[in-house]
């Protein structure tokens, strides 16, 4: 029942907005749809915590404590982003950067995008998971090119081609997975159901499964932003509207990583060797190190935080690869913290860039003086994402690094050097933007900064104190996939 509402609200909202998207109250309608989605997700979460994993609609949907974490997170960030989009897109329209038609496209596609992500998270069918991931690309590509500047068209084209080619690899991986499963489960509808696969994973053909996992990792990895298939993200972030950067970084990357982890659980069962985990650790670590050093060279503020997303997804991928209850717990916590913090940063960055009229960091100065809330939002967000205590990212990175010291000591120097480099790069660039000298006017509409501080507050609270039921919930999820 909750699932029906969870998936129905954004779908109906998207359809309505496609028709009424040009009205004045369209953004409010979008917020209402997102709020309904969030309430449905909250009800679903409560039920899963109470009753344990559920499957519905002839086993086509499956919710356990692992994906319900992400469902709750996705619907929450989608809601705050919808709230943030309201004034943000109004200011963009006020400045003539987008037309009324583009606004309609924006509001409708945002809801459809939420729908595809929630479908990918809740479905039990590995094939439908693929379909939903591809649909998520399709729904965002026209949003990246919303401003119709030459750069944004180029970014969207790159995103479209790279993500489509990547996801084609994932389809091949899914076909191979089905090929292996069909031998055990028989052909027909059930052979791609994750719950069924999970029961028989021990008897799946290991050679086929290892090949299938490689293709799944490369395919979905294109969307997780693993180096070396990360090229589209910085461009898409820099040229698209900021709310879209927030949901791409905060949510889509998580959903793609979720798909990889689902594949890993099956592959681990079939192979009985750490093959899948080793691959994930390797790619994850490579992403962390490469992204940390590329941070130095950025001049555009949104590109800077795009590379920071690559770095953090690398950390989460590494931690999932390490496995075990502690590693997986850290990875889940890190995904949550990164989503909340990074979307908050993008909200603040969006207004900072709107205010200064540029995204080039050298030209953004003195935010603290012209608009203290934006300035503090950006500064606190940057401190949080850099893993300073007492914010939650510190807690998750601490868990991951201490686990790495115990399980994979060779990897810790790389992680620590990369984190240090990232700290110096980001802090050095954000500090003058916030505290430098400036003489700029105020914005025509008051900015929506409530979401920024709500997100940061949650991250702060979770950094200081994780309530026991929440820790239990994460631990359950970690035990499921560790």
């Amino acid at each position: 029942m909750e699932i029906l509402l969870l998936l129905g609200a954004p779908l109906v909202g998207g359809a309505l907005l496609a028709v009424f998207g040009y009205r004045r109250w369209a953004p409010e309608l979008g917020v209402a749809a997102s709020l309904t989605t969030f309430l449905a997700a909250a009800a679903l979460t409560a039920r899963v915590i109470r009753d344990g994993p559920i499957t519905t609609f002839g086993h086509q949907f499956f919710i356990d404590s692992f994906n319900v974490v992400l469902v709750a997170l996705t619907s929450f960030v989608a809601l705050t982003t919808a709230i943030f989009s309201r004034p943000y897109m109004r200011i963009e329209a006020h400045r003539g950067k987008v037309t009324v038609g583009a606004l309609r496209l924006y509001h409708a596609m945002f809801q459809i995008f939420t729908f595809t992500m929630l479908l990918a998270l809740t479905t039990n069918n590995m094939g439908i998971l693929w379909v939903a991931m591809e649909a998520a690309t399709l729904s965002t590509v026209l949003l990246v090119s919303l401003y119709r500047t030459p750069e944004s068209i180029e970014a969207a084209w790159k995103y479209f081609i790279l993500a489509s080619v990547g996801i084609a690899q994932a389809l091949f991986g899914t076909i191979l997975l089905y090929f292996a499963a069909e031998k055990v489960l028989g052909s027909g509808g059930t052979a791609l159901l994750w719950t069924d696969l999970n029961q028989v994973k021990g008897s799946l053909e290991p050679t086929v499964m290892s090949l299938a996992f490689v293709f799944l990792l490369v395919g979905y990895g294109t969307k997780v932003e693993l180096v070396p298939v990360h090229n589209w993200l910085p461009d898409a972030h820099a040229e698209g509207p900021t709310p879209i950067s927030a949901v791409l970084s905060g949510l889509l990357l998580n959903v793609a990583l979720y798909a990889v982890v689902r594949g890993k659980v099956i592959t681990d069962g079939a192979l009985r060797s750490p093959f899948a985990g080793n691959l994930m650790m390797g790619f994850g670590l490579l992403s962390v190190v490469v992204a940390a050093f590329l941070l130095w060279r950025q001049r555009d503020i949104k590109r800077l935080f795009a590379y920071s997303s690559i770095e953090h997804m690398g950390i989460a991928t590494f931690a999932f690869g390490m496995g075990g209850v502690a590693g997986t717990f850290g990875a889940l916590l890190h995904m949550t913290m990164h989503s909340l913090t990074k979307s908050a940063i993008f909200f603040a960055v969006g207004h900072a860039a709107q205010k200064s009229g540029t995204q080039i960091m050298d030209d953004i100065r003195g935010l603290i003086r012209t608009n203290p809330t934006i300035g503090w939002g950006l500064m606190l967000g940057a401190i949080a994402i850099l893993g300073m205590p007492p914010f939650g990212v510190f807690a998750s990175e601490f868990i991951i690094i201490t686990t790495a010291m115990r399980e994979q000591p060779w990897a810790t120097p790389f992680l620590l050097v990369a984190l240090g480099t990232a700290f110096a790069a980001i802090f050095g660039k954000v500090q003058p933007m916030v505290f430098g000298e400036t003489a700029l006017p105020r914005l025509p509409h008051p900015p929506a900064l409530v979401p920024v501080f709500v997100h940061l507050l949650i991250v702060l609270i979770l950094g200081i104190y994780i309530p026991p039921y929440l820790a239990d919930w994460y631990r359950q999820a970690a035990a499921l996939i560790g």
Partner: protein
Amino acid sequence: MSLSGQLINVLAAILLLIAFAMLSQRRILSLIELYAWQGVVLSASTFVVAYSTGQGDLYFSGVLTALLKVIVLPWILYRLIHRLNVRWDVETLINIPTIMLIGIALVIFAFNLAQPISAMAGAVTRSTLGIATACVLLAFLMMITRRKAVSVVIGFLAMENGLLFAATSATYGMPMVVELGIALDVLVGTFIFGIFFFHIRETFDSLDVRHMEKLKED
């Protein structure tokens, strides 16, 4: 080898031939025709597999393929190049012999890659998985070597055809709900590519992807 097995092998060979033809075809209109022929071969092979294994689902899948890949998508593409007025465009492809040689190397690589898996596949479709993988790689090569946005997209669609062929030949088709979903994605994707072509032309006055290589790290 049974008659249906031989038929499938013949169709697979034709598919590979079409993949090579696409690699060297310079006229956009002919590319679309080749793509439609690929759809014909694909649905024919689906019907043969359906007949020889007696799986009712596969007939639907064959009809779906025929509708989508022989009629709807080529028609959309044809309308697009008509509207964009690039129907008679001829692409300058340099080094066709080199591209062909790389293609041959890719085919050999694909057969090696598919070796351990096709050893386990059903008797009817044993040797076709290698060809399917080869078609995917050749389409990928086409995407890399092309300069016009329309040809890049046709390359992408051809890649999807290769994947579908892999699915039918190795596993007798994916579950119906998944096939429908994939078909929907491809259809929506083609529409969006279509809208996108107009955006690209409006912005750059041409459909050449070379205009879109400016965003780089400083």
